[in-house]
């Protein structure tokens, strides 16, 4: 081999560069995100699979319908009417942003901008119980009228 002094470091650099994901993760345990599911509520707006895939599109549609079209009722695939509201509807069950939203968002490094406008729920000990529901409603009713 000619110019081994230049070629071999080059090959090493190339191999290191293309195997970055392998050696940077070497020895670390593969993390597994486990968002806490509300215990007392069994069903989300749509099926679990749909929500995992498309919740962001659904929320975007809701925002558009409420803000632009003044439509507040979403009819889900089962024909059930649902109040289109992040704070009053989604967060009623998923009352901890930290234990639910952030778990996967941090995992895949997604940066949703929901909380630029919306107020995340206060972190409470009683997670996803009926009592918390009423507390959340109280908290949301304290907000200025423009948020309703």
């Amino acid at each position: 081999m000619h110019d081994a002094g230049k070629v071999i470091p080059g090959i090493i650099a190339f191999v290191l560069f293309v195997t970055v994901p392998f050696w940077t993760n070497f020895g670390k345990a593969a993390p597994k995100p486990q968002p806490e599911i509300p215990k007392e509520y069994k069903k989300c707006v749509e099926s679990k699979e749909f929500m995992r895939r498309e919740h962001m599109k659904l929320l975007r549609k809701w925002r558009f319908d409420v803000v632009r079209n003044n439509m507040r009722i979403y009819i889900n695939s089962e024909g059930k009417p649902i109040n289109m509201s992040l704070q009053n509807e989604c967060l009623r069950c998923h009352s901890s942003k930290k234990k639910f939203c952030d778990v996967c968002h941090d995992y895949v490094a997604a940066h949703p901008y929901c909380w630029n406008c919306h107020i995340p729920p206060e972190e409470r000990k009683g997670w996803a119980t009926k009592e918390v529901k009423s507390l959340t409603e109280e908290a949301s009713s304290e907000q200025p009228a423009s948020h309703h």
Binding site: G10, I11, P21, N25, E49, R52, M56, K57, L59, D106
Partner: protein, 334 residues
Amino acid sequence: MGAVFALVTVLAFVMVVYLGVGVAGLKGLFGIVVPYAAFLVFLLGMVYRMIDWAKIPVPFRIVTTCGQQKSLRWIKRSRLESPYNNFEVVLRMILEVFAFRSLFRNLKAELKGPNLIYGSYKWLWLGAIAFHYAFFTILLRHLRFFTYPVPEPIQILDQVDSFFHIGLPHLYMTDVVILAALTFLFLRRLADPKLRYISLASDYLPLFMIYGLVISGILMRHFFKVDVTQVKEFTMGLVHFKPKAPDVGVIFYIHLFFISALMAYFPFSKLVHMVGVFFSPTRNLANNSRAVRHEPAPWWKKPKFKTYCEWQEDFKEQLIESGQPIDEDCYKKK
């Protein structure tokens, strides 16, 4: 026609994955075996290519120059167009690799009536640089699937790329740029008859494979959604050598198959210019053969010369018979 062959090949890829994963349910094969095999082919193939090239002797300085070489002191020389030492070679190389300087010199030749006219033509350079930088950014961005916690620079890159907040998930600028650049690079080949004539299937296939990769990625992000958390669990499994094929839509497997195919194809196609550029003797040498005596080719052996003394020894009798003078210096002991 090459383009048709390449298109059929790429469509066949999609069909194979659709039948394999969507119909036959071979998720382990397409999710684990194929990507690992492809990466192995890529890694070993590229290393093999580099070693193979490094074995080839380059006995001559065959630098492509387009400027005045180093000459007499009062003649102005061009350091970048005709590098004289390794430092200038490195500078030229950096500009070539990062700025595609040689493409910037691209010209267009056109017949205007009886005259052949040459003109500046920067579009190829623009398309190429847009494509390469967009592709590189997309590649870096994908590190968010292979690291945890995701490094801050990668997160910032992601947010800058989706700066305009179009749609949700946000549209990436690089996705738009790479699609535009690919479309240009493809149409460029089709539009010019001369270029169309010299374009082969191996020119179109990489283009179409990257097209397929980009389009499947965009479709997956914005249209046929997949559960991205499961996808990341899978990719993290891949790098930890504990992969578990994810239970997501076929579109993900199509995307994965395109990148696998591209990786496996890489060392055996024109795409290998990624490392080839560093091995180009027309670019990586200094144009100094007038000043430096370079090592001759390795197969060059010093010929067996016969000195005058040896010759005189061979024909000594004849020389004396014919009265020629004998060089006495040959018999002096030193």
